[in-house]
Every structure is written in structure tokens, then in C-alpha cells.
């Protein structure tokens, strides 16, 4: 019976294909990292902090492997921790404003201040950064920072026009101004534009009303609200010619890729974002996490952080900055991390032109967020 032979052959062929195909998929490269006897460290962070360019050297030297869970937004991070069993995450990277929330909710362990190079900080403020301490107890270690200002397409706007937030209202930019979809930096910038200076987060009712009014006047210029991916695409393909709420952390990466974009700190002032490491409560690997945090604060770690592939940041220790200038002068130059340079970040802080990002003081986050939703719906 030729029929049964044929069908048998077909069955075998089908089986073989499935088997071989399945085998290829299931056995394919686990080859890269040797996993024998390595300790796994669970990391909760923004994208990029667990990638080889940052942790590779530490992993090899200490026979550990980082298992990263990446979030986009501190709120997702908090929700995840809140619902996960304690001890799920060993090391947590968080924005400074969220550190306060992490601490209040009891998700992080105490740190010993003596373990970390507080005497080598580039600025005094970094030694006692708000929210990281509870009285004299340290809960979170600052590791890098960056500045937010006016981000723009250099072919559509001159550096002079960009040296003030008023540049966003330039008539030619109607419908071409994008917003990073988060109320905090955007409204902070509007607050600075209104002249609130160092009190930008501490608004009285009148000041808050003024900020809302100012923001609403920008609505006709706004072309859309974007997250990380949308921002990159918008700036790169020219849909958006200016962006509110971001800084060099995005335009730096785009610049590296050859796009005609830049960020400047305008006259009214800029905002600093700060990232810090914490040890997750309930972890049993506190020691190795501690040495990892120390590594990231060492000159080598600081350089890696400044050169991070995902998005660039400033080195915060003197030794780190010195090593960066030695090892990667081009990047140090590009990001103004050379003493005495124009727009050098520490000088800007000292001049009072940089304000640390913080949560609103007299309103709640809800109030700001509600207004932001109103703005989007307008």
C-alpha cells in the first residue's frame, strides 16, 4: 500500500521538522555566560542598569549575575514592589523623589554611611541629599544625576532662542513642541518660567494658579505627549522640533547617533534628576549588593555610569570625574564635565541655576496629575 508509506514518510518528516526545529530553539545560545555556582542578584531599575556595559566587569570579578527587571516610571516600580513578596528584589535603582516613597512605605534597608565615599562628592548637597536620609540614617545612595532644560532641534531653533523657556512659544513651532508625558518635570519648568526659582515645587495657591495658566497657554503649541520611545522617534524624525520636560539624557543619546538636537539650561534655571541605589528589604544578599553600590561609586563605576549606553549621566565624585576626563575626554567635553568649562554642572548648581527635582510641597501629586490630565484633554 503506497498510501501508508507516503503518509508514514510525511509523518516522519513532520515529526523530524518539529523535533529539530524545537531542538534548535530550546538549546540555542545559553553559551555566553557561565552560570555555574554564580549568585544571582535581582535588580529593579530603569533600562540599561543591568546591561553588560555597566555590570559586566563586576559580574566577572565577583562571580555574580544580575537579573534585571526594568520598569518605565517609578509608579510601576512601586506597585510591583508593593505586591511582590519581600526580598524579591535585592538592589533597587530609583529616582530620588521615589526614594522618599520607597522609604515611607518600608521597602528598603538601612545603609551604613561609612561605607560610601561621601568625602569625595563633587558638591556638598550630594552628601545629604534630601529624601535619602531619615535623620542621621542613610537609606539610599546617590549614584548619578543629570540636568533637564530646553531640548530642541538645532535646525529649527537657535541656542539663543533656547536659552529661555519662552522659546517654546515661538510661532513657527506651533504643533511641533512635544511633552515628555510626566507632569513633574513639565510643570516644574513652567514654574521656573514664572520666576519661582528655588521655590518651584513649593507653590502657594496663587502661584499654582499662575503655573496652570501659563501651562495652558502652551497647549496650542503642543504636538503630543510621549514616553521614552515616542520622544526619541519624535525628535529624530523631525515630527517634534522642541521637547519640554527632558534634557541631555535623551538628546545626548541622539547626539551620539548624529541627530541635530541639543539641550541647554535656560536662564530661568534647570531641573536635576538624580538616581540612587537602595538595598531591598528582606534580601539575603545585602553584602554583595553593598559592594556593588560601592563599585558604582568608585571611579571605574562612575565612568561606566557616565558612558552608559542607554542614557548618559554625570559623575558625582571627584575621582570619577577625573578618571572620565582621562579615559574619555570627548564625552567629558560634550557633557561639560570639565572644571572651569562653560555650563559645567557643578558651577550651575552653585550659581543657583539648577534645582533638584522634587515632589510638590503644598499640592499633592494627585493635584498636579489631575491638572496634567486636564491639560492633555484641552
Amino acid at each position: 500500500m503506497t498510501d501508508t508509506h507516503k503518509t508514514k514518510a510525511k509523518h516522519m518528516l513532520r515529526r523530524d521538522v518539529l523535533r529539530i526545529g524545537g531542538g534548535v530553539v530550546l538549546s540555542a545560545p545559553f553559551v555566553s555566560r557561565a552560570w555555574a555556582q554564580t549568585t544571582e542578584i535581582n535588580m529593579l531599575a530603569w533600562y540599561g542598569h543591568g546591561e553588560p556595559d555597566i555590570v559586566g566587569a563586576f559580574e566577572e570579578a565577583n562571580n555574580v549575575k544580575f537579573v534585571p527587571k526594568y520598569y518605565a516610571g517609578g509608579d510601576n516600580m512601586l506597585a510591583l514592589i508593593a505586591q511582590s513578596p519581600p526580598g524579591t528584589y535585592d538592589v533597587i535603582l530609583s529616582d530620588a523623589e521615589f526614594v522618599q516613597q520607597l522609604n515611607l512605605a518600608g521597602y528598603i534597608e538601612e545603609l551604613d554611611a561609612n561605607d560610601y565615599p561621601f568625602d569625595d562628592m563633587l558638591h556638598e548637597d550630594f552628601t545629604k541629599f534630601p529624601g535619602h536620609w531619615d535623620g542621621d540614617t542613610l537609606f539610599s545612595m546617590m549614584v548619578r544625576c543629570g540636568h533637564l532644560g530646553v531640548s530642541y532641534n538645532t535646525t529649527a531653533m537657535s541656542a539663543e532662542e533656547a536659552s529661555s523657556y519662552n522659546g517654546f512659544w515661538k510661532p513657527e513651532l506651533e504643533g511641533k513642541v512635544g511633552h515628555f508625558d510626566w507632569h513633574l518635570p513639565n510643570l516644574g519648568m513652567m514654574s521656573l518660567l514664572n520666576g519661582n526659582g528655588a521655590g518651584l515645587w513649593d507653590l502657594s495657591d496663587d502661584q499654582w494658579a499662575a503655573v496652570q495658566e501659563k501651562t495652558m497657554s502652551l497647549r496650542p503649541q503642543a504636538g503630543g505627549f510621549f514616553d521614552y520611545g515616542g520622544t526619541f522617534n519624535g525628535l529624530k524624525n523631525g515630527e517634534m522640533l522642541a521637547m519640554c520636560g527632558i534634557g541631555d539624557w535623551i538628546t545626548g543619546a541622539l547626539e551620539r547617533d548624529g541627530a541635530p538636537v541639543a539641550s541647554v539650561i535656560p536662564a530661568e534655571g534647570g531641573i536635576q534628576w538624580t538616581e540612587s541605589y537602595c538595598i531591598g528589604k528582606g534580601t539575603d544578599k545585602a553584602d554583595i549588593v553593598k559592594s556593588f553600590i560601592q563599585y558604582m561609586l568608585s571611579p571605574e563605576g562612575q565612568v561606566k555610569s557616565a558612558q552608559m549606553l542607554a542614557y548618559p549621566g554625570f559623575a558625582i565624585t571627584k575621582a570619577g570625574r577625573a578618571l572620565l576626563q582621562e579615559v574619555d575626554p570627548a564625552e567629558a567635553n560634550r557633557s561639560h564635565q570639565i572644571d572651569g568649562m562653560e555650563n559645567e554642572p557643578i558651577a550651575l548648581i552653585n550659581e543657583g541655576r539648577i534645582h533638584y527635582r522634587d515632589i510638590p510641597q503644598q499640592q499633592t501629586l494627585e493635584d498636579w496629575n489631575d491638572f496634567w490630565s486636564e491639560y492633555k484633554n484641552a
Binding site: R33, Y47, K69, Y70, S84, T88, Y228, N237, A310
Partner: protein, 264 residues
């Protein structure tokens, strides 16, 4: 002839629809071979660096493996549940039938991100979060309604007397099920399997929340898109696309060979 002109116009329209559906996929394929990190036209140079990057990343392979396990398990579970419910709806009338149907049809009406958080909270409480099983459970709940709807649609086309006829001819209920109903529903069951697998394969909101530290392919893509946008997403997308094309063609070949066998 008017008929032929109409046929050509219709065929062109179908082609247009397919073009719309496949354009993003084709472009993704093109840009996966493009050297630029952010795709714009004119194109950069031809480059396979993004493929090299994902092939060398063990996390991506692990994610592919996880995705395959999750989606195939989900497909089987969801289709089984969907079939049970569709058949019950088709054949039986009972007192709480309304709520019964609601039980299976409700999941798609709930926005994913809230469902995601609720599932994480719930599964943590019963100690089942953070594993691949968590995703499978969650996805089966989400996709069962689709399976049920497809199979119910098929049953709707069946003559209900068929079952009674089989019984009259001496078959038990189980035999009737096996020899009459299941074969009739076979195309719908296959469709349900494919659709539920597909929905599960591409779901990222619930998966991100309940999976703990396990990654599936959509989670990897989500992370790249939200944190480090580069054409590796296109490489991953193209790889998945080519794999599913292959599976589809294989399925067609098997189907055709079975047709030939049954006709010869």
C-alpha cells in the same frame, strides 16, 4: 466584460488590504537590516548587527523559550475551557446560564493594566505569582472568551438535530461528542488554538506584572521600546514573523497533504 473588470478591482482591493496589514511588518524587516539606530529615510547601510546582538543575548533566547511555552500552554487551556463553555451554551439551558456566560465573556471587557495589577495582587496572595505558570493562568483567563466565541459561532452553524439523530442511532453522548461534534468543530478548534496562542504570544501588560523575573518576548520588546530604543526590536519582530510564517506554511502543507490523503 463588466464582470472581469469588477473582479480585477476586487482583487486589487484585497491586495490593498493586505498591503495595509503587512506594510508595518515589511518595514520592520527592512529596518532590522538598517545600520542606523533610529530609522529614517533615506536608509543607512545594510547591516546584520542587530541580529547578531539578539542572537548573542541569552536573555532573548530564554524569552523566546518562555513565550513558546506560555503561548502553547495557554492555547490548549483556553481552547479547552472555551470548548466546554461553548458546548454548554449550545446545548443546555439552566437556571444560572446568564451569569455562567458572563463568567467567561467578561475578561476582555476589563482594561489590561488594571487586570494586570489585580492579578498580581491576587496571585501573590495565593502564592502563585512570579512564575511562568502565573502568566499561563492569567493568559488563559484572558483568551478563553475568544476561543469560546469562535467555537460557539461554529456550533451555531451546526444542525442541532444532528446530535439527536446520533443518539437515536444508538450512540451514547460521549460517542456522539467524539464522532460527530468534535470533528464538526475541528476547524473552529484549530482556529481557536491559533488565535489564543497568538494573543498570548503578544501580550505584555499582564505578563510584565505577574511574571516576576521571567521574561517573555513581548516583555523584552516593551523594555527595549521603553528604555533603549533601537532596531533590535525590529530584529526580534522579524525573527518572530519569519518563524510564524514557517509554521503557517507547514500547517498548510500538512492540511493539504491530509486533504489529499482523505481524497485518495
Amino acid at each position: 466584460m463588466k464582470g472581469r473588470g469588477l473582479n480585477i478591482a476586487l482583487a486589487a482591493y484585497v491586495a490593498l488590504i493586505f498591503a495595509f496589514v503587512f506594510a508595518p511588518i515589511v518595514f520592520s524587516l527592512i529596518f532590522s537590516f538598517n545600520s542606523q539606530r533610529f530609522p529614517t529615510i533615506p536608509l543607512g547601510e545594510f547591516s546584520t548587527e542587530w541580529y547578531v546582538k539578539i542572537f548573542n543575548d541569552p536573555d532573548v533566547w530564554q524569552a523566546v523559550r518562555n513565550s513558546l511555552i506560555v503561548s502553547s500552554s495557554t492555547a490548549v487551556l483556553a481552547t479547552t475551557l472555551g470548548f466546554c463553555t461553548a458546548y454548554t451554551d449550545f446545548r443546555y439551558n439552566f437556571r444560572f446560564k446568564g451569569p455562567y456566560l458572563a463568567l467567561i465573556l467578561l475578561p476582555p471587557t476589563i482594561p489590561l493594566i488594571i487586570m494586570a495589577l489585580a492579578m498580581l495582587a491576587w496571585l501573590s496572595r495565593i502564592g502563585m505569582s512570579g512564575q511562568l505558570w502565573s502568566i499561563i493562568l492569567a493568559h488563559s483567563v484572558l483568551t478563553a472568551p475568544f476561543a469560546m466565541a469562535i467555537i460557539r459561532l461554529r456550533l451555531h452553524q451546526m444542525d442541532p438535530d444532528l446530535e439527536a439523530a446520533a443518539w437515536n442511532l444508538g450512540g451514547t453522548e460521549w460517542q456522539t461528542m467524539r464522532h460527530v461534534i468534535l470533528p464538526f468543530c475541528a476547524p473552529a478548534i484549530v482556529s481557536a488554538l491559533c488565535l489564543t496562542a497568538a494573543v498570548s504570544f503578544d501580550e505584555f501588560a499582564v505578563a510584565w506584572f505577574v511574571s516576576g523575573l521571567n521574561k517573555t518576548v513581548p516583555i523584552v520588546i516593551l523594555e527595549i521600546v521603553q528604555g533603549n530604543i533601537d532596531p533590535t526590536v525590529n530584529a526580534i519582530g522579524t525573527f518572530v514573523f519569519l518563524t510564524s510564517m514557517t509554521l503557517v506554511i507547514l500547517a498548510q502543507v500538512i492540511f493539504i497533504s491530509r486533504q489529499i490523503k482523505s481524497h485518495s
